[in-house]
């Protein structure tokens, strides 16, 4: 797996989040994981096909997810992860992944993305199709969002 494939996702995050009302965006730590992930909170999966095949898994703590949805909805209070909040979060990952796809195209790598699927719960075990998963933590107004990139070799 190519570490350069992380850059389009970082750039997309730094570009998209300010447009949605977040004032500070930062890169957090980068790590490599195996194909098994364990996560609690909100998980959003976006499929990728084209020159690269794989999945992007966005993982956000449930309270953080509410905060992000609230900011996206101009500060409207989000007490529970209702349909509107879930829809906002799905749309967010759609925007982030589509923006990253455009950046991949600039690198001469043509990819297309599927619709996002959102799940939530505690201790969700995920098995990805690739052997390695690159995980980048990104922060918007200090709220961490984990982006797991699982590209098939």
């Amino acid at each position: 797996m190519d570490v350069n494939h992380v850059n389009p996702f970082m750039e997309s995050f730094l570009n998209v989040m300010p447009q949605l009302g977040f004032s500070t965006v930062e890169k957090g730590k980068l790590s490599v994981k195996g194909k098994d992930l364990l996560s609690s909170g909100v998980i959003i999966i976006v499929g990728i096909v084209g020159a690269i095949k794989g999945n992007i898994v966005y993982s956000i703590d449930i309270e953080d997810a509410k905060k992000i949805a609230s900011t996206m909805m101009m500060g409207m209070p989000v007490d529970e992860l209702n349909d509107i909040a879930q829809s906002a979060l799905s749309e967010l990952t759609n925007m982030l992944t589509a923006n990253a796809a455009t950046r991949f195209a600039d690198l001469g790598i043509s990819i297309d993305i599927s619709t996002p699927t959102l799940l939530h719960g505690n201790d969700i075990a995920l098995k990805m199709s690739s052997n390695q998963v690159l995980c980048i933590q990104l922060l918007a107004d200090n709220i961490p969002i984990e982006v797991n990139i699982a590209f098939d070799n």
């Binding site: 096909v49 599927s114 619709t115 996002p116 505690n122 201790d123 098995k127």
Partner: protein, 287 residues
């Protein structure tokens, strides 16, 4: 069939004449033309076309500003840019401005007609997916179970209500990408998954990983076969599947997407299997 009503936006009378000739010869109805932002707004409100051909360089405005103005009036109107300029940056900007296709001048009549057919055909294509996709996926699941485990299944329940549901234990998610994007979800209890994997492998899975791997590959085959069948119905669907992601947990909520999906519950020898499939109309891919 009714003639497709088209408005030509261009500031050159020469280009308008050429486009008009091509379109009218092919049986389209050119209902108006415009060369400035004000004229565009006026003719769109007045003529209500289905499609607009759009020049990029216009006095006092540009093709994107005019496209946005058109979509403010009616977001269903399709815009095809016809411009002498064409590079990656401008094409990307066109996509962002919800332009449906991009053609370079001098106009090749066949290319223009193909673009119009593709753009106007997408509505029909989506309808095809809406009516045919779920029966095809159900058939594919039935066929897959039958061929890979030599058993039969019966569908006992089917609905298209979009509401969140709680996983029975294990969920396989497969993203689908093509002219329209979508997804397939297979959900089953852990026990069903184990029974199923045993039948698929013709022996007890060695461990959890092998069991999950068998179910993932099973779901991959179901979705791949279904998409191939749909592509055979109409090649321009161009559906492809992303690799499966498998999730399991005691209390996993799978949320309803914004678009319509269909769900069926299959009763099998191994236990119940839920299949859920949906495609979204928006965000059409350029092909």
């Amino acid at each position: 069939m009714e003639k497709i009503r088209i408005v030509i936006v261009d500031d050159s009378s020469f280009s308008i004449a050429i486009l008009r000739d091509i379109l009218e010869e092919k049986g389209y109805e050119v209902v108006g033309e415009a060369g400035s932002l004000d004229e565009v707004k006026e003719v769109i409100k007045d003529k209500k076309p289905a499609l607009v051909t759009m020049d990029m360089t216009l006095p006092g405005t540009d093709g994107f500003e005019c496209t946005r103005a058109i979509h403010e009036i009616d977001s269903n109107i399709k815009v095809i840019v016809v411009s002498s300029m064409m590079d990656e940056e401008i094409v990307n900007e066109a996509k962002e401005n919800k332009v449906s296709a991009y053609i370079q001048k001098p106009v090749d009549p066949d290319e223009l007609i193909a673009a119009i057919n593709r753009v106007m055909g997408s509505e029909e294509l989506y309808k095809l997916l809406e009516t045919d996709s779920f029966p095809v996926f159900k058939e594919s699941l039935l066929d897959g179970v039958n061929r890979m485990t030599k058993t039969l299944l019966t569908y006992k329940d089917e609905y298209s209500a979009n509401k969140e549901y709680i996983s029975n234990g294990m969920t396989v998610i497969i993203g689908i990408i093509g002219k329209f994007a979508g997804r397939m979800v297979i959900d089953l209890s852990k026990e069903t998954a184990e029974n199923m994997a045993t039948a698929l492998l013709r022996r007890t899975p060695k461990n959890n990983d092998e069991m999950i791997g068998a179910i993932a590959e099973f779901a991959n085959i179901i979705s791949g076969n279904a998409c191939s069948l749909l592509n055979r119905k109409d090649r321009s669907l161009g559906l492809r599947v992303a690799p499966p992601s498998i999730l399991h947990g005691d209390n996993v909520h799978i949320s309803a997407p914004r678009f319509k999906t269909n769900t069926a519950i299959a009763e099998t020898n191994f236990g119940d299997i839920l299949i859920n499939v949906g495609f979204t109309r928006g965000e059409e891919k350029w092909m």
